[in-house]
């Protein structure tokens, strides 16, 4: 639209400049000049521009309708398992992509239409509105307090001390029932966190093969995960048991083991450590076979498996518990008992 289309007489230049609350600046150069006069938009003075805005809004609403039809069509047409390659998004589900974009367009177009309508056709004249103090007037305040005092007096709450005391007692006791009802949310901790499923003579079962491990299976530099004998993956309590019993087995050259107790509890350099981090219980197992360090992927606690599982970095507070192992008569690795200390994160009663 060129400027010639806007005839000068349409411009309401003669309109009075409404200075809302204006103070004529006398001396003060920073005084509030008041609201500036409203400037018309093209749409306000030129019907052709306004009509173009109207068409744009209508187009957007129509686009939304088309997109909704597209949404329904996509829902019917695309099988749910159809994968298509769309640059740059990759191999994506055709259905998800089509539904999402059509829905997005259908919604966005409604919004864009409404906002364009508001911005170009609805009046954009800024008007002031008075504020009123939030707090009440002193009279109202007095009235409220008087009413309150009157009410309290009529209830005789202040005079009848016995009623007051017993009511307070009853009201403060009654929630206790609710608290008591929460007791059966779970069992008491007792010694549950102190023990795991490991017992003397239990064989170490390779989690990959479900077979008991022999010392000769485990080479230096290898990493193996084990669970206690008799624990089946489909057992009812498998998750809860493995959450404490998971083991990590590595073999070091016995001369590399710096900690004497670790050496005693190992078998020919094979050491079995708890896989559960002593920090907050992530399954720690990022084993670096050259440094013998094991790192936790959650919070980067680092333990030295050649030095009694000592913490060498990160937020863990104490060494990884080691399981005493040996070899039974059939030549299988077996536990010599449970862990000597609780596995996993520390707790108050741990000691």
């Amino acid at each position: 639209m060129s400027n010639e289309d806007m005839s000068e007489e349409n411009l309401p230049s003669e309109r009075e400049h409404a200075h809302h609350g204006a103070v004529e600046p006398v001396g003060d150069p920073f005084a509030d000049p008041g609201l500036p006069p409203h400037e018309p938009r093209r749409q306000d003075i030129d019907e052709r521009t306004a009509r173009r805005s109207e068409r744009t809004v209508a187009l957007l609403f129509t686009l939304s309708m088309i997109a909704t039809v597209g949404f329904i069509a996509s829902y019917v047409i695309f099988p749910i398992d159809k994968i298509v390659y769309i640059f740059p998004f990759g191999h994506v589900s055709a259905l998800n992509f089509a539904l999402g974009l059509t829905l997005g367009v259908a919604l966005f177009a409604i919004g864009a239409g409404a906002v364009h309508w508001a911005r170009t056709l609805m009046s954009d004249e800024e008007v002031p509105d008075d504020r009123h103090a939030i707090e009440a007037s002193p009279e109202v305040r007095e009235q409220v307090f008087a009413d309150f005092r009157q009410g309290v007096k009529e209830s005789q709450y202040g005079r009848r001390k016995l009623i007051r005391t017993t009511m307070m007692g009853a009201l403060s006791l009654v929630p206790l029932s609710g608290v008591v009802l929460l007791r059966d949310l779970g069992p008491l901790p007792e010694k549950k966190l102190r023990t795991t499923a490991w017992r003397k003579g239990m064989k170490l079962i390779n989690q990959n093969t479900d077979q008991p491990l022999r010392p000769e299976d485990i080479g230096v530099g290898s990493l193996t995960f084990a669970k206690p004998e008799g624990l089946s993956d489909d057992a009812e309590n498998f998750q809860t048991v493995i959450a404490k019993a998971a083991l990590m087995i590595v073999r070091l050259n016995p001369e590399d083991i710096k900690d004497k107790r670790e050496l005693d509890w190992s078998h020919q350099g094979i050491v079995a450590y708890s896989k559960i981090c002593t920090h907050v219980g992530c399954p720690i197992s990022l084993y670096e076979q050259q440094t013998h360090h094991v790192l936790c992927p959650c919070h980067q606690s680092t333990f030295d498996l050649s030095d009694g599982g000592r913490v060498i970095f990160g937020p863990a507070g104490h060494a990884l518990p080691q399981l005493r192992i040996s070899v039974n008569a059939q030549g299988y690795l077996e536990a010599l008992g449970d862990f000597e200390e609780p596995v996993g994160p520390s707790f108050w009663e741990r000691g």
Partner: protein, 268 residues
């Protein structure tokens, strides 16, 4: 000082500040990043006969004249042909420089030369042999079982779909995207660098194949991501960045448009 303040309005002042900032950032980065220099020494021996010749040119300076190892490199006696095929085949060996970890790069030797080197190293002492195609091919693998094994044995370092992850002191578990199935198999078998090994005695051949099958399914250029952009497969961090940059960024852009004043008929 006065000169400086006089010049700060210079049109190029912003550029100078930017250059300083970039230099400072780069300096800081260099201070933290594991050292990086040196040059690839390309041993281009044309001797096709034995790996020993290749070895004495390309490897002996670090691993010793007969593979016994030096303080610059470990002994290669007994590492087996599979280790050589992995290390040289993925370009990790010969190493460019000492550092936290030797990264994967373009292989320097061709497969024939690698085979010669492997044959030579294998002759030094018994070790794992190069797997056959039948062993490592993802065809016929039990993908779901592979996934379960991957989550138990591998995901803690390599991420649940093999995108890699950080280890201590600048070391890292590399991404497994685009790694040859043969090299995947060899890595599990030999445990390169700080990676532990998973010998057949604790992880039978079939299970290695299953793991390779799982990776071929979820971590290849053909893997599908039904929901759209995978965002690196890195989880909530990249999702959060996306939500802030594209999600909230779009919201604010839209809000600016909604709240902006419409153009007036004439400039005031």
């Amino acid at each position: 000082m006065k000169k400086l303040s006089a010049r700060r309005r210079h049109p190029l002042a912003a550029l100078v500040v930017l250059l300083f900032a970039l230099a400072a950032t780069g300096g800081l980065y260099a201070a933290f990043a594991p050292a990086e220099k040196a040059q690839a020494d390309s041993a281009q021996s044309l001797a096709t006969e034995e790996g020993k010749k290749l070895y004495s040119v390309g490897c002996a300076s670090c691993h010793g004249t007969s593979g016994q190892g030096t303080h610059n490199g470990p002994s290669l006696v007994g590492v087996g042909a599979a280790a050589v095929d992995f290390q040289v085949g993925t370009g990790r060996m010969p190493a460019q420089q000492p550092g936290a970890q030797v990264p994967r790069k373009k292989a320097i030797y061709d497969q024939a030369q690698i085979d010669q080197l492997a044959a030579y190293i294998a002759s030094l002492g018994p070790g794992p042999a190069i797997p056959t195609k039948q062993q490592y091919s993802p065809d016929g693998a039990d993908i779901a079982n592979g996934g379960q094994l991957f989550r138990t044995n591998c995901a803690q370092c390599h991420n649940s779909t093999g995108k890699g992850g950080a280890l201590s002191e600048g070391k890292f578990a590399p991404t497994l995207d685009g790694v040859d199935p043969k090299h995947l198999y060899e890595a599990m078998l030999t445990g390169p660098q700080n990676m532990p090994n998973f010998p057949d005695s604790t992880m039978p051949q079939k299970e290695k194949k299953d793991i390779i099958g799982y990776l071929a399914q979820v971590d290849s250029s053909k893997s599908s991501s039904p929901g759209g952009l995978e965002l690196g497969g890195l989880g909530p961090v990249s999702e959060g960045l996306f939500a802030w940059i594209f999600g909230l960024g779009a919201m604010i852009t839209v809000a600016i448009w909604v709240a902006a004043h419409t153009a007036k008929a004439r400039k005031s």
